[in-house]
Symmetry: C2
Subunit: 339 residues, 2 copies
């Protein structure tokens, strides 16, 4: 209900996913019954695999996250998360208010064993492929061990879902050298280096698109700033280019001839292509689709949810983190010895 | 000496500045005498307004900042900063190692009265103009009062040098609402709001290019990440576009017709257009030109240095900060009352 385009793309995307992925047993469409039926009833579907679950309230894009969860108990967002909590569903997906979805998942689903703070992970395009970056805003006051655990969770996700064999994990910092960074990243560097994952060191802003790593970890403040400012920069350049290309007839003609190139870039930069963000570390699969997600983007995001269940992402995260924490504890000198 | 293209653009830019700005009494070219003369002697210049000052060492782009300052005492960078320290020059400019220049300025020049930490400020293009952002990397562990003081320094700079009448100052955060942010920004918000400057609240990544503010303040870690990742994003998009435009003859023909548009964008995104960065808050004028600065960029950066002296930027910063701190101290309850 809370996405920018209402239930239409969600319903259509859900039916497309059911059609393409027979592994999905059932999809629940949660929200205002009447509105959902208005979109659903006209489309061919297997009634045994779709259920509409009524929820009388809607969380808006401007609702305050924690308040929305506490006050709108019968919102589609809350109800959908509740279904995962009760074991009635394995995954929840929403194109609505990101903060409210993260808050609902944290409050209702809690974290996986060994996870202190969940992290919101999203895909970015890069020169030759793509990379995962987390956290982009779930955990604003991150501590070093959270960043280390994000490295482990990101590694599991890119391995299991993106098919990356030995994911390279980097730490966002202000220089590539080990001693570059702030207190948070310097300690996180040490913890990541001591872990079992393929940690390749610091990544600075200049290198994020250079295919040097598969996963970039950072705190929720820096990650959110990076995500939004890069999106803004790309929109800004596109806008500028459009302006310049329409300044005279010659340029207009040129732009018309080269139209295919602009369309290709637009497609590559379309957040729809990257299936939304996943909240890693909560007890259940929780996917945030883009607010402007198209039918196709919703279908892709449902696929990510289905893959995450099938590939047992959460079980693997628990197992990997257990190893990481054991390794870390074994490496720590006993308190008396360090005194 | 330490810029990517060596002394050539620096010497040529210096002579251009002397020619255009009669207010500049004298320019000292500091570095390897022979190399400087090799560029200088062939060009027409007023010998009374140019002096070559020999320095036997060069700080490289990969030298560690503090070490470079401590060990290479006879580097062009150190010598040039020394001249400001001794009062032999009013401003220092370098296209060399940013970290080393910042370290040399902090160590040798010290901060202005009332300044705890200098901040490196740089200009970004925006939809309709430009904005100043600081700190982009001088102060990695910023405290709230540093961000507030950056607001004051940025306000003075944009007013005095960019001619902005009543500069709007924003705080980089993860949402526009007052309660959005981390511990650092929440407290900085309070301090900025209580100051005499025109503080317009939080600015999130999505809005940085939207001409909502003239100055954006942030900590050196986030600022550095933002600056470098936006530069990377723009290079990345340019690269992609070039690739796509050369994929077939039709697109190549289109690109040739629209060439003027691409050239205009390239010019707008050229860091040369923005005259380098200024280290605000040190006792002297200290300008960092881009490592790849052209003759024209060096000339523009020298102009910024000359304007900063003429407009008494540092005197105004001292005065504005004194007001800010007085206002802040007056607003604080006495310790006993708050207990």
């Amino acid at each position: 209900m809370g996405g920018d385009f209402g239930p239409q793309p969600v319903v259509a995307g859900a039916l497309a996913a059911l059609h393409l992925y027979p592994g999905i047993e059932k999809l629940y469409l949660v929200g205002l019954e009447k509105e959902i039926h208005a979109h659903l009833d006209g489309l061919p579907h297997d009634a045994a695999r779709v259920s509409v679950v009524h929820a009388s309230e809607v969380v808006g894009m401007h609702d305050k996250p924690v308040e929305a969860v506490r006050r709108k108990k019968d919102s589609s967002l809350s109800r959908a998360v509740d279904m995962v909590k009760k074991g009635e569903a394995d995954a929840v997906l929403s194109p609505g208010n990101t903060g409210a979805l993260v808050a609902a998942a944290q409050i209702k689903l809690r974290t996986l064993p060994g996870v202190e703070r969940p992290g919101l992970a999203t895909l970015f395009p890069s020169h030759k492929g793509r990379f995962l970056i987390l956290d982009v805003g779930a955990n604003i006051e991150a501590r070093p061990q959270h960043l280390r655990d994000y490295g482990v969770m990101g590694e599991v996700y890119t391995r299991q879902i993106l098919g990356c064999r030995n994911p390279r994990v980097g730490l966002l910092s202000i220089g590539t050298e080990e001693m570059k960074g702030n207190e948070l990243t310097l300690e996180a560097f040490r913890l990541l280096k001591a872990s079992q994952i393929n940690f390749t060191g610091n990544v600075e802003g200049h290198d994020i698109f250079a295919d040097k790593v598969d996963v970039i970890v950072t705190d929720g403040f820096s990650g959110n700033v990076l995500l939004k400012s890069c999106e803004a920069a790309s929109r800004f350049i596109a806008h500028w280019l459009k302006d310049e290309l329409s300044k005279n007839l010659l340029r207009k003609a040129g732009a018309a001839l080269a139209y295919g190139a602009f369309r290709a870039i637009k497609k590559k930069m379309n957040p729809d292509e990257y299936g939304g963000a996943i909240l890693l570390g909560v007890n259940g699969i929780c996917i945030k689709a883009h607010g402007k997600a198209s039918t196709n983007a919703i279908r892709a995001a449902i696929r990510v949810a289905a893959d995450s269940i099938e590939q047992r992402v959460n079980t693997q995260i628990i197992e990997e983190l257990r190893l990481t924490h054991e390794k870390n504890n074994a490496a720590q000198p006993a308190p008396a010895a360090s005194a």
